[in-house]
Symmetry: C2
Subunit: 218 residues, 2 copies
């Protein structure tokens, strides 16, 4: 309520502009970058425009980031953190059934891509390497770990002799999920008559049946 109160400024990072000093420019730039990426793809994003969107001179960006790529990398890192959290949460929620946990994780994947397209693009389509910084690599590995853990739990229900390694198992699922997102959950023109969610759900279902994890339940 107090227009210049300290409280509201802390609660509203990146929004309150108190004259000369921005208050939370670092995060505001990330958010500007994300909406630009959502709107125009990783190509359409420029440092200058991100600065302008955040209401600031391009030069100000260099107080917080080393340059354009560094900004995208930080956006990707935050994306991986959110991504890992979401999948972890979904996985926990499906417990104690390993199958329910796994399927919830798959759904969480697509939900993330839908809800955070800017992050998703920064993570997987911006062309920046996951090994660019240790922080980024760590965040990416955590996400990968969640998926692998879910796969491992589930694969305990497969007889050992016909059980693929968990890392292969999870790579398959990741690949199919990513493929569905890229091919059918974007406006590239390549449409399918089915909603991406259904496509992914049925695809994973058939795959799991192939592993003997799901009975003939159609």
């Amino acid at each position: 309520m107090h227009p210049g109160g300290k409280q509201s400024e802390k609660d509203d990072p990146g929004m309150s502009k108190r004259g000369y000093h921005h208050g939370n420019l670092k995060q505001a730039l990330i958010e500007a970058a994300l909406s630009l990426i959502e709107a125009k793809g990783p190509t359409g994003f420029t440092l200058s425009e991100a600065a302008k969107t955040a209401g600031v001179t391009p030069a100000a960006v260099y107080r917080h980031y080393q340059g354009r790529e560094d900004l995208i990398a930080e956006a990707a890192r935050q994306g991986f953190e959110i991504f890992a959290d979401l999948m972890q949460f979904a996985c926990d929620k499906g417990q104690p059934s390993a199958l329910a946990a796994f399927e919830a994780t798959g759904r969480a994947y697509l939900a993330f891509a839908r809800k955070h397209p800017g992050h998703y693009i920064a993570m997987f389509e911006s062309g920046i390497s996951v090994n660019r910084t240790p922080e980024l690599a760590m965040a990416a590995n955590r996400a990968k770990g969640v998926l692998e853990k879910a796969a491992e739990d589930l694969s305990r229900h497969i007889p050992p002799e016909k059980r693929p390694p968990a890392s292969m198992f999870s790579a398959h699922i990741w690949a199919m999920s990513h493929g569905v997102v890229e091919l059918f959950a974007r406006n590239t023109g390549a449409t399918s008559p089915y909603p991406p969610e259904d496509l992914l759900e049925t695809g994973i279902g058939i795959y799991l049946r192939g592993l003997g994890l799901v009975p003939q339940d159609d």
Copy 2:
């Protein structure tokens, strides 16, 4: 052998420069674009540099294309033609076994992505819509049709009541193939301990088993 012979000029499109006139600039520009895209991704490609690579002034490009996007679109179109041909060929070769044909088609997919990375990127990662021109849309549809045809042939071996529609079936396979290419067959840093070929082959194998199309053959 004759340095200026007509024969050799026709055989070597885009290479022979006979002074003022290039001879086959239109195709030479496509090839320049492809190698630039391979080297630096769709972002790193500029019209000017493509012209320079082809040994020509940027302005000359406008004799053959409307602009940068138009050039990429033509590269993508040619990619879809090659892609469809390769998959068609693989599919035919696997006949009369529908299963062998289908698996050969899957392998052809990955082989194409490996052998023609520039085309693949132009087709799926450049951000241009498949509906940009009727020619591009037609080429893309032909490719899609080959995959769907292979899926349809194969799905005849599934009892009708548990048979998914062929378009869904082929979308699943396409998604997994594309996901493997994007996540594991590129140098994005996200590596898996398995070669992409194996990853895709086992993935498709498990999926097909889930459809009851492949016996327990491990």
